[in-house]
Structure formats: structure tokens, C-alpha cells
């Protein structure tokens, strides 16, 4: 057994001899030269992030503690936060945003997963079906939402959805003009617009599941739901949790749907989201500092979600 010396090295084993400074320097230079291309590629991304992401973010945080009046900027401590929390629509906006996020998790998260499972089962026309599902993603979001606004959600019987409901002798809806239907209607439109990308990601994950797992489950007498529950979901857990996180972050930033479908706040504030409230303060109410404060609050809330996600996935790792 080797004896350990006070320096932590086994006795009789000599450590690497220190390099002469000139050799060390030339090694560093070589390393630097080797990595130069890498740094060159990196610099574009770093500059882009610094200018368009990090700088606005830091500036936003600073602005949230300032007030600019008559061209003079002063530090005002927590005043902007106090004002924004007292905004009449503050709590409504958060309530609406969380409601949308929850609904989107139920509908917008589950539907693409099951569509992906379904597509994965098809033996024929897979490519066509994938294109079909992905098509709405290629439409500009504003165009897709205008389609919903003018054709699907028309509150008269001429609207597409009301015509379908009428055909089945079901009660029609005022859709965006109804305080109760505003959010579900926005989730339906948002899911239709965005699910193509999610379906493709899920499909990629599903195709990585070894076929023998399903075969073994079938031999054990597992039906379709049992196979999904015991094979598909555990095997795609990582991608499912990642998609859940991305979905929460994306849906919390709800903006274009209320702006286009509900012309902003919707009936009785039923569509006001936090991001829309930021827009109202910043661009309509001459209150960029209040908007910045609300942006920081949103950052903190989303950071909370992100933290939970990181904790969960680190345990899975």
C-alpha cells in the first residue's frame, strides 16, 4: 500500500515537473490559436445577446427604479412597483395569465402529445400528416389569429364555430365577446397555431423509444393506455418536462392573442394579460418606468417557475 505524504502524494511517486515559463507560454498561445475559430464563431452570438437581450434586461431593471419627467431621470426607489401593483388591472392581468397558462397546460400541452402518439402509430402517409399538422406554424401568427377572429369566432351564426355548433343543434357562443369563453377561445387558437412544432418534437422523442419495450408490454397483456402510461410517458419524461417548462414560460408571455382576438383587454378586462398590461403602460400611458417594473415582476415569477423546473430536472438527472 502506498504511503500518503503530507502533500497528499503517494511516497516515491514524483509529480509532473513544473514547465519552464517559455514552454508554458507557447502552449497557451497554441491553445489560444486552436480556439480562435471557436471564439470567432462565439463573438457574433455574444454580441447579439449582449446588445439585444442582456443590455435591455439590465436597463429594464434600472428603469424600474427610475422615473423620467420633463427629460430628467431620477431614482424613485420602489415607487414604480407600488404604482403598478395598485394598477386597477394588475391582479386581473395575473389572474387571466395564470388561467390561460393552466388552460394551455390542459389543452395545449396534452393535445400535441396525443396527436404525436397518433401520428406515430400511422404506417402510411406519415410525411403528409406531419406537414398537415405543421402547416399552421408556417402561417404568420397575426394572420392565423385574424382567421380565427373573423371566420371562426364571429358571434353571429355565420361564424365557423357557431355554424358547426348549430349543425349539431348545440348552443352557440359569443366567443370573444363572452367573459367566460374569451380564455378558452384564445387557448384553442393558440394551440392550433403552435402545436405543429410540439408535435414534431414529441414525434422525435417517440421514435427513440425502443420497439421491444412495447412488444414486451404487449406480451404482458398491456392495452394501448397501459402502454402509453407505462412505456411512452416514462420514456419521454425528460422531453415532456422540458416542453412543460417551455409551455409555461411561453404562455405566461401571452400577448398577441389578446391584442388581435380581443382588441386588447377584451370584454370587461377578460383578456388583459400581464404582457398586454406592460404594453398599455409603456406605449399608451406614457409610463415606461411602470412597464419596466411590471416586466421585472414578471421576470421574478418566471424565474420561480424556471427554478422549479431546474430542481425537478436535476433530480431526474
Amino acid at each position: 500500500m502506498a504511503t500518503i505524504t503530507a502533500h497528499g502524494k503517494p511516497a516515491g511517486v514524483s509529480g509532473p515537473r513544473p514547465e519552464p515559463p517559455a514552454r508554458r507560454q507557447s502552449r497557451r498561445r497554441r491553445q489560444l490559436q486552436n480556439n480562435l475559430t471557436g471564439y470567432a464563431f462565439l463573438i457574433g452570438a455574444v454580441v447579439c445577446f449582449a446588445v439585444f437581450s442582456w443590455y435591455p434586461m439590465v436597463r429594464g431593471i434600472i428603469m424600474s427604479f427610475q422615473r423620467t419627467r420633463r427629460g430628467e431621470t431620477t431614482w424613485v426607489g420602489w415607487d414604480n412597483y407600488e404604482r403598478i401593483i395598485n394598477d386597477p388591472s394588475f391582479w386581473t392581468a395575473w389572474k387571466n395569465t395564470f388561467y390561460f397558462t393552466a388552460l394551455a397546460l390542459i389543452l395545449g400541452y396534452a393535445v400535441p402529445f396525443f396527436v404525436a402518439i397518433l401520428l406515430n402509430e400511422f404506417r402510411h402517409a406519415k410525411g403528409y400528416l406531419r406537414i398537415l399538422v405543421y402547416l399552421p406554424v408556417m402561417l404568420p401568427p397575426a394572420s392565423a389569429l385574424f382567421l380565427f377572429k373573423y371566420y371562426a369566432y364571429d358571434p353571429s351564426d355565420a361564424g365557423l364555430f357557431n355554424a358547426i355548433l348549430n349543425f349539431f343543434h348545440l348552443p352557440t357562443s359569443d366567443w370573444m365577446q363572452s367573459t367566460t369563453m374569451t380564455m378558452p377561445a384564445m387557448v384553442i387558437a393558440s394551440t392550433w397555431m403552435n402545436m405543429g412544432a410540439a408535435v414534431l418534437i414529441y414525434l422525435a422523442a417517440l421514435q427513440n423509444i425502443p420497439g421491444e419495450l412495447y412488444e414486451a408490454a404487449e406480451i404482458d397483456g398491456a392495452g394501448i393506455w397501459r402502454r402509453i402510461w407505462n412505456v411512452t410517458i416514462p420514456q419521454t419524461k425528460l422531453i415532456l418536462s422540458l416542453m412543460a417548462m417551455l409551455q409555461i414560460v411561453a404562455t405566461m408571455q401571452l400577448f398577441i392573442e389578446p391584442l388581435i382576438l380581443a382588441n386588447g383587454a377584451g370584454t370587461q378586462d377578460s383578456a388583459t394579460s400581464v404582457a398586454y398590461l406592460i404594453y398599455q403602460h409603456g406605449f399608451f400611458q406614457n409610463d415606461l418606468n411602470g412597464a419596466a417594473a411590471l416586466g421585472v415582476i414578471m421576470l421574478i415569477v418566471l424565474a420561480g417557475f424556471s427554478f422549479v423546473y431546474v430542481r425537478l430536472t436535476s433530480r431526474q438527472d
Partner: protein
């Protein structure tokens, strides 16, 4: 420094920290970026060198407004010929020269032109941005020959504490815009529009009875425009939005209730305002251009927009005064537009800008008042507004005479509006924040047959008081 404790006695590892920071940073970015992209820039590209003064001016018509654009360019050419030491660089900022989000972005980003367009109600925002110049010492009868004739009320909207920050170039007040064709089809008297809200209600019923998706009367209720019209309508009943000291909301009263009740009755009892609600400015005018709107509250220039932007026809439209409850309206909402001057301009640039505005906007027979040129075009001549010059002044007389001589719209169609002037009131303080609050009440009475008006007004009042107490806009 101690690390934060985690369940099961774990400490947060360095990679975990990095992941948290990275994910959190990415997550909150969008919201913050919305508010923070407001770095100011002083690069305006204008100068005065070699004896030639260059200024940039915005609100040049867009390419789709062919005639207006040709007129503008012709004006620039003529002006530059008459003033060889001045060069005008025109900038187009869209069909709506002051779309509030775009305007705010330009203002906060420091990218306005040297001479920039704004609404009369923009003065506070423009002052807060620190982007505007005090032009008091330059505005006079030398730089603008008709300055003494310009309406004092219009000038006051660009003035604060005796300092002039802008020059008015248009003004308006609201009345009842109506479709003559639909009036005729409904058997209504085209020459005698409704003068009270009960009369509006009756006329709307008759027009809506024509069917074919026609709304007898149409109303805004989204994007802050609902609150804007609520303001105009409560003014018509003699009400006000805030108390005289500007500290408390003052619309939760029988007049506010009357405004909402009338609209609710028109929507659910009479079914005369159409099923599609949550309308904003372009929604309503699109419907109007398509001949689906019988009446709406608007200014004379609404007809210009209907024709130039929404494919309507001048001959279809006429205008009456703002309706009152039992007789003539007690007041109506008014506003207008003008040009501000960017801070940091040289004396020569300011004078050049004023000279250009004087030429294009404030001289009878030139620019916007060149009625001889506008007459054969698809631009209206003969509308009662803008009425920028004080009644009785020389400029007023010249403008009126030329307008009547070259009218291409039927002046009589606007006579009920012009001959029944209503006192004009301006917008309340924190207007946009209060309008946003009132949108909820307006949208409720137009979409919910069970809407409780008392409750809506109480909620709106509480919210408006919150806005006023905390400064709302932070001002």
C-alpha cells in the same frame, strides 16, 4: 457567504446556479425588453451647412395615398424653390401619423424627425420625454404670417406655463356622423339628423330594421376607444370625467348611467347596434366604408378616413351636431394635431420648420388649404373642420371663401353640424389610463345583457380613482 439551504440538506451546486440564472434570464427577457428598448439617440442626420438648412419632417403620406403623397411632394418642391436655402427631408410614418405605440417608440428612442407630428393631448408625454424644444421666441407673425389668426384655444393646447412647444395644424370636435343612403332607405329625413339620444335610438332602430347586417348606430368598446367615446357622450349630457381639481373620478352619476343605459338598451332591447362588438377605430370605419353603419359619433375628418382608407364615398355621408339628452348637447369632446420641434435644433432649423408649417398647414390657398388642387381629387373640400382660424380674422375669411368656392362635398350635408356649434371640452387628465378603465364598462353593456350598470360604474370609478391617486401615468 452562506449558500441557500435546500431540502434534504443539499446545497445548490455551481452548475445549478448557472442553470437557474440562465433559464430565468431567458424567461423574463421578453417582458422586460418590451419596456426597455428605449435608448435615446441623438443621431438625427439633419444639419445646417454651407448656408443650406436641412430639416426632417414626418407625416408624409404613404405610397398608397397617391394623391395626398403627390400633393405633399409638390408642396415640398414649390417650398424649396421659394426658399432655396431650405431642404425638406420628408419621412413617412404610416397612414395614421400618430399611432400611439409607434409614436411612443419613436419619442423614447429619440428617432423622431426634427419637426414631428403629434396630437394636442401629447404635450405632457412629449415634455416628459425631454425631446421637445421651447419655440416661444421663434413663433410669431414673421415666421408664421397667420399666427395671430390661429385659434387661441388650439394654440393653448401646445403651450405650458407660457412656453410654446408646438404649432396646431388641425382641430376637430365630435358630432353625429350618419349615412345618408341608409337614412333614405329607412325613411328618415336626411336633412334633419337626430339631435337627442332618444332620437338617435329611434333612428337606429329604423336603420337596423333594413337588415343585411346593418347597424343603426355603431360604438367603440376596445383599445381605449370605448372610454374615449364614453367621455364624448357624458360631455354631451353635461357631465365630466374628473372633478375640477382633477383628483377624483366624476362619472359615476346619473349621466354616466344614462350613457351606458342607452347603449345597453340599443344593443339588447332594440338590437340596433349589431352583434359584433369590441370595435376599435379601424373596425368601425371598415364597417362604415362597407355601408353597414347608419350613425356613429365622430369628427368631420372621419368621413375623410372612410373614403381615403376604407373605400367609402363622400356622397354617402353627412353630419349633425353631437346629440344631447333632452335638447342640444351641453358639450362635446374636441382635439386636434400639430407639429413639435425636436430639442437641439439650431435657430435656423426651427425657423425653417416654422416656415414650412406656415406654408403647408397655415396659409389659405396653400398646402392643406389648397382647395383648387384638392377639388378634382378624392380629397374632401367643404368639410366644416379644421377651423383653425379665429372667426372674423382675415385668414378665416379667406379660408372660408375658398372652401365654399371649391367645395366638392355637399356643404349642406354638414350644415346641421356647422350651424349648431356645441361647446368643446378637452380630454381628461391621464386620459388613456381612464379610457382603458371605461372600456370595460362600454364592452360590458354592449356584450352582456345582464351587465349591472351601477356595479360597472362603481368599479370603473374605484379604478379611475386609483389611477388618479397614484398618478396613473406616473406624471
Amino acid at each position: 457567504m452562506t449558500q441557500p439551504e435546500f431540502p434534504k440538506g443539499r446545497t445548490m451546486s455551481a452548475p445549478l446556479y448557472r442553470k437557474v440564472v440562465a433559464v430565468a434570464a431567458a424567461a423574463g427577457l421578453a417582458g422586460l425588453s418590451l419596456a426597455a428598448c428605449s435608448t435615446k439617440s441623438d443621431d438625427d442626420g439633419s444639419s445646417s451647412s454651407g448656408g443650406k438648412v436641412t430639416i426632417t419632417v414626418d407625416c408624409q403620406p404613404v405610397a398608397s395615398q397617391k394623391e395626398l403623397l403627390a400633393n405633399w411632394n409638390a408642396d415640398v418642391e414649390t417650398f424649396q424653390k421659394e426658399n432655396p436655402n431650405i431642404e425638406i427631408k420628408s419621412v413617412s410614418v404610416g397612414t395614421q401619423c400618430n399611432n400611439p405605440p409607434d409614436f411612443t417608440a419613436r419619442l423614447q428612442g429619440g428617432t423622431t424627425t426634427d419637426v414631428f407630428y403629434g396630437y394636442m393631448t401629447d404635450l405632457q408625454q412629449v415634455l416628459d420625454s425631454g425631446q421637445v424644444m421651447d419655440i416661444t421666441e421663434y413663433v410669431n407673425s414673421t415666421t408664421i404670417p397667420t399666427w395671430e389668426s390661429v385659434d387661441a384655444g388650439a394654440k393653448a393646447t401646445f403651450t405650458e406655463d407660457g412656453k410654446v412647444y408646438g404649432v396646431p395644424t388641425k382641430n376637430y370636435s365630435m358630432g353625429l356622423v350618419y349615412n345618408k343612403n341608409l337614412f333614405q332607405q329607412a325613411g328618415l329625413d336626411v336633412k334633419n339628423p337626430p339631435k337627442t339620444w332618444p332620437e338617435v335610438r329611434e333612428a337606429a332602430k329604423k336603420i337596423a330594421a333594413l337588415g343585411n347586417g346593418i347597424a343603426g348606430y355603431s360604438e367603440y368598446s376596445a383599445g381605449n376607444t370605448g372610454g374615449w367615446h364614453f367621455t364624448a357622450e357624458i360631455y354631451s349630457l353635461g357631465g365630466q370625467m374628473v372633478t375640477a381639481d382633477g383628483k377624483k373620478a366624476d362619472f359615476n352619476n346619473p349621466m354616466g348611467k344614462q350613457v351606458l343605459q342607452t347603449l345597453k338598451d340599443m344593443r339588447f332591447t332594440d338590437n340596433s347596434v349589431g352583434e359584433k362588438q369590441l370595435l376599435q377605430w379601424p373596425d368601425l370605419l371598415t364597417n362604415a366604408g362597407a355601408g353597414k353603419v347608419g350613425m356613429f359619433v365622430g369628427a368631420p375628418d372621419a368621413t375623410t378616413a372612410i373614403v381615403t382608407q376604407f373605400q367609402g364615398k363622400y356622397q354617402d355621408w353627412a353630419m349633425g351636431p353631437m346629440p344631447g339628452q333632452d335638447g342640444a348637447a351641453k358639450a362635446t369632446l374636441g382635439g386636434g394635431e400639430g407639429y413639435f420641434f425636436k430639442k437641439g435644433l439650431s435657430k435656423e432649423q426651427v425657423e425653417a420648420g416654422l416656415k414650412w408649417i406656415a406654408y403647408q398647414k397655415l396659409t389659405p390657398g396653400k398646402g392643406q388649404f389648397d382647395y383648387v388642387r384638392a377639388k378634382p381629387q378624392n380629397n374632401p373640400v367643404g368639410l366644416p373642420q379644421p377651423q383653425l382660424f379665429t372667426i372674423g380674422s382675415a385668414a378665416y375669411g379667406q379660408e372660408l371663401e375658398q372652401r365654399k368656392a371649391n367645395a366638392n362635398v355637399t356643404v349642406d350635408d354638414f350644415a346641421p353640424f356647422e350651424n349648431n356649434p356645441v361647446p368643446v371640452k378637452v380630454e381628461p387628465p391621464n386620459a388613456q389610463a381612464i379610457y382603458a378603465v371605461l372600456d370595460a364598462a362600454m364592452s360590458a353593456v354592449l356584450t352582456d345583457s345582464k351587465a349591472n350598470i351601477d356595479q360597472l360604474l362603481k368599479t370603473a370609478e374605484d379604478k379611475a380613482n386609483q389611477v388618479l391617486a397614484t398618478g396613473g401615468t406616473g406624471s
